[in-house]
């Protein structure tokens, strides 16, 4: 009996040991596959592969390894590049702040234009009567430091972004002029980026002449509609009989601004149809209740191959309603809408979120608008052609 008990106990012990081992092995045998799947295809850390790659770079790369921020910006650019969409882009904080200023149409600054020369230096050109000009900055001065911070060499345009800032606050710059270092402390003022220019021109109608309002829109910013209104008022005071709206070299801007501008040119209509993935169409209509002399007087719109996006929306609305002739060259053909999302560190991603069609349901991507009067050649010849195209309707009045 005792022997039986020992035998049973030993058998039990052996059995449990075997089961334990089987359980243990069962887990090991199944685990590697699971592990690998999780690692490659995301799950808890979809970026494990990025860490893996970077660990090698940090260990073995012969040069200077950039910061995590630069690394992440690079990763974002690389991921966006796989979309094959030239309009879905990433902006680092400094360039984003410049973009934002441009869309707003105003900012706190010192009133200089800056450009990059082929040596990678930032060349200044002060606006007449701007704060920089008043402080003594001259055209051609080379910017070398802002608030004691030396610019890198070669510099990028974004490096000049620190010139901008809060209105009323001083900024100290150092420039190089004919080999001499000069230092200026300048109080920032409100700088407006004019997106609208206007002047009086003359059209020949038969043997007589007629005053015509010429309005050029350079971009569609938050302030464009307001600037346009002021331009119209100024030209109406000169009793213009018609308008030439110049959209040449206007690469676009805010869709809302384009709708506002169109509302001053055409009578109530759908300006553009926006199509998003898997969503109902959005109709962008002119704002109601707008009355403007530009809706009634003869109108011609100048376009060229750089007229794009929001500018094409406006030109298409005019053409669709036969409000006026398009004169110039075939437009760029950008029928997509980008949304801008600012990220937590001030950088931004611009995402192609929609396509838009003209009110005649014409898609513009890659096509562009064909002008009613095709004019190649220089800017002056195109303007003359526009005035000629305007003449018959002026005569009819």
């Amino acid at each position: 009996m005792r022997a039986t008990k020992i035998a049973v106990g030993a058998a039990l012990l052996a059995w449990s040991g075997l089961m334990f081992a089987a359980g243990y092995v069962a887990r090991w045998a199944t685990s590697p596959i699971e592990v690998r799947v999780e690692r490659i295809y995301g799950g808890s850390n979809p970026h494990a592969l990025l860490d893996e790659a970077w660990a090698y770079v940090e260990q073995h790369f012969v040069g200077v390894v950039p910061s995590d921020t630069v690394r992440e910006y690079g990763a974002i650019r690389g991921a966006l590049a796989t979309l094959n969409d030239p309009y879905t882009t990433f902006s680092e904080p400094l360039s984003r702040s410049i973009e934002r200023d441009h869309m707003r149409g105003e900012f706190g600054g010192i009133g200089v234009q800056f450009s990059l020369n082929d040596k990678g230096q930032i060349i200044l050109k002060p606006r007449p009567d701007g704060p920089a000009a008043q402080a003594g900055v001259q055209e051609g001065d080379i910017l070398i430091a802002i608030n004691g911070q030396q610019l890198p060499s070669p510099a990028r345009l974004e490096d000049a972004a620190a010139l901008r800032g809060e209105e009323g606050k001083p900024v100290t710059i150092e420039v190089l002029r004919r080999g001499q270092r000069l230092r200026f402390t300048i109080i920032r003022a409100r700088i407006e980026l004019a997106s609208v220019e206007h002047r009086l021109v003359t059209a020949t109608v038969g043997n007589a002449t007629a005053p015509v309002g010429y309005i050029a829109l350079r971009a569609f910013t938050e302030r464009t509609d307001e600037e346009l209104q002021r331009a119209i008022e100024a030209l109406e005071a000169r009793a213009v009989q018609g308008y030439v709206l110049d959209l040449r070299d206007n690469s676009g801007g805010l869709l809302s601004s384009a709708v506002d501008v169109a509302s001053r040119l055409v009578t109530e209509t759908v300006v553009a149809i926006e199509q998003r993935r898997g969503q109902a169409e959005i109709l962008h209509r002119t704002r109601s209740g707008i009355t403007s002399p530009t809706q009634r007087k003869p109108l011609v719109v100048l376009v060229n191959q750089h007229t794009a996006s929001a500018a094409e929306i406006v030109a298409a609305a005019v053409q669709a309603q036969r409000r006026g002739l398009l004169v110039g060259q075939r437009t760029f053909g950008k029928g997509s809408v980008q949304l801008v999302f600012e990220l937590r560190d001030g950088s931004a991603v611009r995402v192609t979120a929609a396509r838009w069609l003209t009110s005649a349901r014409q898609a513009l991507d890659g096509n562009g608008l064909t002008p009613d009067v095709l004019v190649e050649g220089d800017a002056e010849a195109q303007l003359r052609a526009a005035l000629n195209a305007l003449a018959p309707s002026l005569a009819a009045r």
């Binding site: 039990l12 799950g43 690389g78």
Partner: protein, 434 residues
């Protein structure tokens, strides 16, 4: 009856016992499973659980044996934010997660600013790995990536399929066998072009003076070119051309050089044009033929180590007036030899700026099968010039135009002969570079 009862209770007891045994066995099986599961997490103990994040990171450690992978300080919050915006808003169909990850790693790696540190996607890494037997052939062209990301032909080597098909330097490769090369790097495009000897590959090329891309079909072939070519020019100038720096290069060069020297030439031309390089050890031995004792090359690696290689004083070609011919196809080992000869003022360089490949890459295989090629070492000439950044600029720049090539003219060689015969420097557009 009693017997039967006893038998019966015995049977019940036995059944109960074996049931109990199986029950205990099952419990212990589950215990074993649990212990096995917990222990299968590297770095985890029975009492603490590792986060899934540490789990995957550590797994990659053990697979590749690297010991000091730091904890990632980067939480990828920005890129996650961007990806979620894309998922919500982007108009098209998003590429797969793997493709986005491939792109992200490429973008990350390009932030290093080094064109040779490259991420090779798994599908191309596979081709590279399959080719260890060496049966795959290319087409005989060197590639480079332009700042805009296009893949450009730098050189076509004489006698190769690329040259025979009329491919020209400057041509941009748009597609290989109809597959776009957008977003791919030079290593990946080279992998696409490679394939078994005798098979065909179709390249879609864009050329500056042609409005539309066009197709070229080439047959992959092994080109056996001689390693060394040597002859006397006009009976007084010795000419030696080295095609690459593979294993027997220096020995064969020395043999031919000895033979040429026996003819008492007035000067020697070493032609390294279109020589893509090869073994560093061969470069040093070739340099040793022409240079006396001194610094030959400085290697600096990622650990900050500096290794200085020197030439000895036993070369048989140390005294004869020397011109080295170089061009944009002279790369790597060719640039080392030319750079050392220039820096040590042993000879005169004529031709065009060299390729600018003065670094060593080490390939690592990532857990998804991709290859990460990392620049681990850079080369510097004796005067400490970085070959990688600038290439080697000849003392006299003489350009062979495509027109020259077509008409079988060789102004670079003519200039070298003239210089050695008369000491007359080549004419403009030549400009002394130093």
């Amino acid at each position: 009856m009693e017997d039967a009862q006893t038998r019966m209770s015995n049977a019940i007891r036995n059944t109960a016992l074996s049931l109990l045994g199986m029950f205990i066995g099952a419990i212990i099986f589950v215990m074993g499973l649990t212990v096995g599961m917990v222990l299968s997490r590297p770095g985890a103990t029975l009492f603490g659980s590792a986060s899934p994040f540490a789990f995957s990171t550590l797994t990659s450690d053990t697979r590749h044996g690297s010991t000091t992978q730091p904890e990632s300080p980067l939480d990828y919050a920005l890129i996650e934010d961007v990806l979620s915006r894309l998922r919500e808003q982007w108009y098209g169909e998003l590429p797969s997660r793997e493709k986005l990850t491939d792109g992200a790693i490429k973008g990350m790696v390009s932030a290093l600013g080094d064109p040779y540190t490259q991420y090779v996607e798994p599908r191309f890494a596979k081709i590279l790995n399959e080719d260890i037997s060496g049966t795959f052939e290319g087409i005989g062209a060197t590639l480079k990536q332009t700042p805009g990301g296009s893949i450009q032909i730098v050189r076509t080597l004489p006698g190769t399929p690329a040259e025979k098909a009329g491919i020209l330097p400057g041509d941009i490769i748009e597609a290989v066998d109809g597959q776009s090369v957008m977003g791919l790097n030079t290593t990946e495009v080279a992998a696409m072009v490679r394939g078994p000897r005798g098979t065909q590959v179709r390249l879609t090329l864009r050329r500056a003076d042609q409005p539309k891309p066009f197709d070229v079909v080439l047959t992959r072939a092994r080109i056996t070119i001689p390693l060394v070519e040597s002859r006397m020019i006009d009976g007084e100038i010795a000419y030696l051309r080295l095609f690459d720096f593979s294993q027997p290069a220096s020995r064969q060069l020395e043999r031919d050089l000895r033979e040429l020297l026996s003819k008492k030439p007035k000067g020697l031309i070493l032609d390294l044009r279109d020589n893509p390089g090869g073994l560093l050890s061969q470069a040093r031995e070739v340099g040793d033929l022409f240079l006396d004792a001194g610094v030959f090359i400085i290697e600096r690696d990622y650990k900050g180590n500096e290794k200085v290689s020197r030439t000895t004083n036993r070369g048989i070609g140390q005294d004869i007036p020397l011109v080295v011919l170089v061009n944009g196809g002279s790369a790597s080992a060719s640039e080392i030899v030319a750079g050392a000869i220039q820096d040590r003022q042993r000879g005169t360089l004529i031709g065009e700026r060299t390729f600018g490949k003065g670094s060593v890459q080490s390939p690592q295989t990532l857990s998804n099968g991709a290859q990460l090629r990392i620049t681990i070492e850079r080369w510097f000439t004796p005067n400490n010039r970085s070959i990688q950044d600038e290439g080697v600029v000849p003392d006299f720049i003489v350009v062979n135009t495509p027109d020259d090539q077509q008409k079988k003219r060789d102004p670079q060689l003519d200039a070298a002969v003239e210089y050695l015969k008369t000491g007359k420097a080549p004419e403009a557009p030549s400009t002394p570079s130093r």
